[in-house]
Point group: C2
């Protein structure tokens, strides 16, 4: 890093700004674009889909809410609202963690597992159509590596922790 006077803003260079603007636009658009197909075909948002995936992959289809929040990249309060909606639809239920009653487990129901299985092929096709099949394999790998670096940075900074 160059030395700088922290009373002065270190504005982005024109190259940095161009890259950053493309990224922010993508980050704004991509979830909405993926939501369109999922909502239309499966009445799920992308975030709800990822929560169901997190549950489906957990041992015995149950997981602590705080762990699920980290997996889905959500604050715990936002996850709680989302899980309430899924609970009303019979896709998930919550129960106290038998190992420690101060924690709450979210549990995927059979209906939730069916809903996810029905939603998955269409969602994966859309992920291919809008992202995976659009990029050369090495660019997808690079994209994943960059995202991993930035996720680690967010972990370090304690951002987005419940």
């Amino acid at each position: 890093m160059e030395p700088y006077d922290d009373r002065e803003a270190r504005w982005l260079s024109s190259d940095e700004l161009a890259a950053w603007r493309a990224v922010t636009l993508l980050v704004a658009r991509l979830p909405a674009a993926l939501d369109q197909q999922l909502q239309r075909d499966s009445y799920l948002s992308v975030v709800e889909y990822h929560v169901l995936v997190g549950l489906a992959e957990a041992p015995d289809r149950r997981i602590r809410m705080s762990v699920l929040a980290a997996l889905a990249g959500l604050e715990l309060s936002r996850l709680s609202h989302l899980v309430k909606r899924l609970e009303r639809r019979g896709l998930v239920y919550r129960e106290p963690d038998p190992a420690n009653g101060r924690y709450t487990l979210a549990v995927l129901t059979d209906e939730g597992a069916r809903c996810l299985a029905a939603a998955a092929p269409g969602h994966v096709a859309e992920v291919r159509r809008l992202v995976v099949d659009v990029l050369a394999p090495e660019d997808l790998t690079a994209f994943g590596a960059i995202a991993t670096t930035l996720n680690e940075r967010l972990d370090e900074c304690g951002e987005d922790q419940p």
Copy 2:
């Protein structure tokens, strides 16, 4: 693309899945992380910030709502709600487009320009801290190029159009 039977899902390979999961996690977390600083210091969300930037850069600080929606990567209905909130705070107002009364212009007020100018240094510092200064310059460039490719794909697919 390989030929495939469209009755069968083309699941992601393990490499594709790993990359895609890192990307979806980042896309979920990054706006929330950037929101934390902006909300705390400037009472703005990242999306509101980008809307103010779009207005500040428009000639005479005014722009058609539909053009602003595309710039900010928002559906028009979502932009309308957001602009109403900014209007209540005196940062923006709307008026019919004198060139064509069927269109609505959003206009940045002096107070809106001051709010943006006050918010910008802190936001840019956070963008550096969480993204720009974390990546090697060539990785930031690659990230921008990948995002541009995917934004063009979304344009082609007519996704996210108002």
